[in-house]
């Protein structure tokens, strides 16, 4: 397998993009990535989208978006892995270039969630319909079970959960593409509306529209275009039981730790070699659990770590979600995994502005679907 380079990136602002359609926002992001990469063509494209059928009644997205992007007749494929669709699309693009089948591939993600669908119901289709969703549990409910178990087992506190939201909003306030460019206080999080005990409104990522795209290419293409080399050091994916109740324990996400093991092995790295990470904070508890399963902190210490500022940009040991994360940047489901890669690219090329992590050379992106039944991890290195 040959090396794969991230050549250029582009995304829309995330948020309630009422007056624009799925294809509009997709084309904006894809064209901006193509322009940023400086390529004159793409060999194929992958689109990550969780549920365009239920959100906007449009399937066959590969064809729709290749048509509107004006790139027919190249191969165009939609990839679906619930909230990890974007990460999975990036992995497919990576594999296609790594295998030598193509030289320049567009990896992208999109979701249009505000067009009137019952969002909670649509998102619940990423859980086990027969054994979870049909019985009425929603994603906030599933993550609340994880939070309660973590609080019981490791004495993680309500305040520590809130600290994740406070930190991510602090970072997101500095991200021009973020849905919520505003800080929140610990008190605001702790007093926000209860959603599923102990998770409150400000523990939850929002409903968002958005699209994100990156161009991956072979080293030869990158050298010819004289681009800074941002190399994909690892691409890993793992799965776990779809239903939460079939897990041995609720406080560890096996797909995350398994994908992490693979990724570190492939990159020849250990967790301490990673300078910063974008992780899937769909709920505040998710960031805490994932930061442990990625090996950044000992199991049970993730809550304490965030409260002690270890995951902050300023003075942290491993800054997490410098973009604002799903919590503040927004979570247009299919676009999320690609947007994480974009934050890695911005940091590694030193273009993250006020959010810049000093001397960042290795970044990790962790994207997961459902309550952790699928997980995709990428490690990027800037040279």
């Amino acid at each position: 397998m040959r090396d794969v380079i991230v050549l250029g990136v582009g995304m829309t602002k995330f948020g309630e993009l009422w007056n624009r359609s799925l294809r509009d926002i997709y084309v904006e992001a894809a064209l901006s990535a193509i322009e940023n990469a400086g390529v004159d063509h793409i060999d194929s494209m992958y689109v990550g989208a969780m549920s365009s059928g239920l959100f906007v009644q449009q399937e066959h997205l590969g064809a729709v978006l290749a048509d509107y992007l004006g790139v027919n007749p190249i191969p165009a494929t939609r990839v679906e892995s619930a909230c990890a669709s974007g990460g999975a699309a990036f992995r497919q693009a990576y594999l296609e270039v790594a295998s030598g089948a193509s030289d320049i591939v567009l990896a992208s993600g999109v979701e249009k969630m505000t067009d009137g669908a019952d969002v909670t119901e649509v998102l619940a289709t990423a859980a086990d319909q027969e054994y979870e969703a049909f019985h009425g549990i929603t994603f906030p409910g599933l993550y609340a079970l994880i939070a309660n178990a973590h609080m019981h087992q490791f004495k993680t506190t309500r305040e520590q959960l809130a600290q994740v939201a406070v930190k991510n909003h602090h970072n997101g306030a500095k991200n021009p593409n973020a849905q919520f460019r505003s800080e929140v206080t610990l008190e605001q999080v702790m007093n926000s509306t209860m959603v599923a005990d102990p998770l409150r409104l400000l523990d939850c990522s929002p409903v968002s529209d958005g699209a994100a795209a990156v161009i991956v290419a072979s080293t030869d293409v990158a050298r010819k275009l004289k681009k800074q080399i941002i190399r994909v050091k690892a691409s890993a994916q793992a799965s776990d039981t779809i239903a939460l109740h079939n897990r041995r324990e609720l406080t560890t996400l096996n797909a995350v730790s398994k994908a992490a093991e693979q990724a570190y092995r492939m990159a020849g790295m250990k967790p301490s070699d990673v300078d910063f990470a974008e992780v899937h904070d769909c709920f505040t508890i998710a960031e805490i659990v994932v930061s442990e399963d990625l090996g950044f902190f000992q199991k049970g210490c993730g809550g304490k770590a965030v409260a002690e500022g270890k995951t902050a940009i300023e003075g942290g040991v491993i800054p997490i979600n410098t973009s604002g994360g799903l919590k503040s940047k927004g979570h247009p489901v299919g676009a999320t995994g690609i947007a994480q890669i974009i934050e890695l690219y911005e940091q590694l090329t030193g273009r993250a502005g006020e959010r810049q992590v000093k001397d960042a050379s290795v970044g990790l992106a962790q994207n997961m679907g459902g309550s952790g039944a699928s997980c995709v991890i990428h490690i990027l290195e800037g040279l």
Partner: protein, 348 residues
Amino acid sequence: MTGIVGYGAYLPRYRIKSDTIAEQWGADPVAIRKGLQLFEKTVPGRDEDTITISVAAARSALQRAGINPQEIGAVYIGSESHPYAVKPSATILVDALGIGPHVHAASYEFACKAGSEAMYVAYSLVKSGEMNYAMGIGTDTSQGAPGDALEYSASAGGAAFIMGSENVIAEILYTHSFTSDTPDFWRREGEYYPRHGGRFTGEPAYFRHVLGAGTALLQKSKFSPKDFAHAVFHMPNGKFPQEAGKRLGFTKEQMEVGWVVPWMGNTYSGSSPTGLAAILDVAKPNELIFMVSFGSGAGSDGFVFRVTEKVKEVQGRAPKVREMLDNDKIYLNYGQYAKFRKKIIMND
């Protein structure tokens, strides 16, 4: 000079607190009270509908105008809860109040702006010289599905305005309307409760239209927000009108009198008209009033009024909005409320 010569409002005595509704559905009462600024709302009695409300409001308007009902050339009732799908509401009203039969009458519907629409057409007919007096009414016994966010706001009430050119109490100086196809809230034929687009009812619907009409009205009139003593906007909840007013440059103090929604709820077509009636109850001569309605679907009608000396004579001739809001209230529990609003399925 053309404008309002008589006005009247009516609000039912029954109330339900938003806490009572929140408790019923296991919702967070603080979020409703603080977030949406809704404390309680009016509930129509079992023998009340938009026609009885219109008659009560119109009777007060006639008392204030002091005119012969026979002189009224047109009656328009704007509502989204007309009791009949086919049969006009206004025919019952004109007979009940001795208006007509030499009168033009119609029922209007434009979601929550049907009332201001009726006012606008009534005003235009008088201004054009077609007739001496015309009446525009906005009223609703608003629908909101059980458990829906609308249930905290959907309330009952209305206000009537008689337009004329003599003895005007509030001259209409400028009007402006702003309309586009924006499907944020609707109820199809045969459906009992309206449906809505959640957060889509905010920025692209309410704010775009209210601010669109409001900004154009300020430009057209060449007034600045500080010239006005009062401003009133459509009130789907407590928060939206305050935010819209703030964005246009009005202060909380300017909006205080017309902001009746925390205690009244959203009387849909009667919302901003009742707010206007509350302002006229206390307005002083020469004060300027700014009003912008909103109806989903969507559109806004804006008016600039200048109060005349005459207002002092008529204010005390009929019940005032604040009195009806604050006095003689009867609080209902959720069961009684469900019964009053026909939310309980019964055999005939």
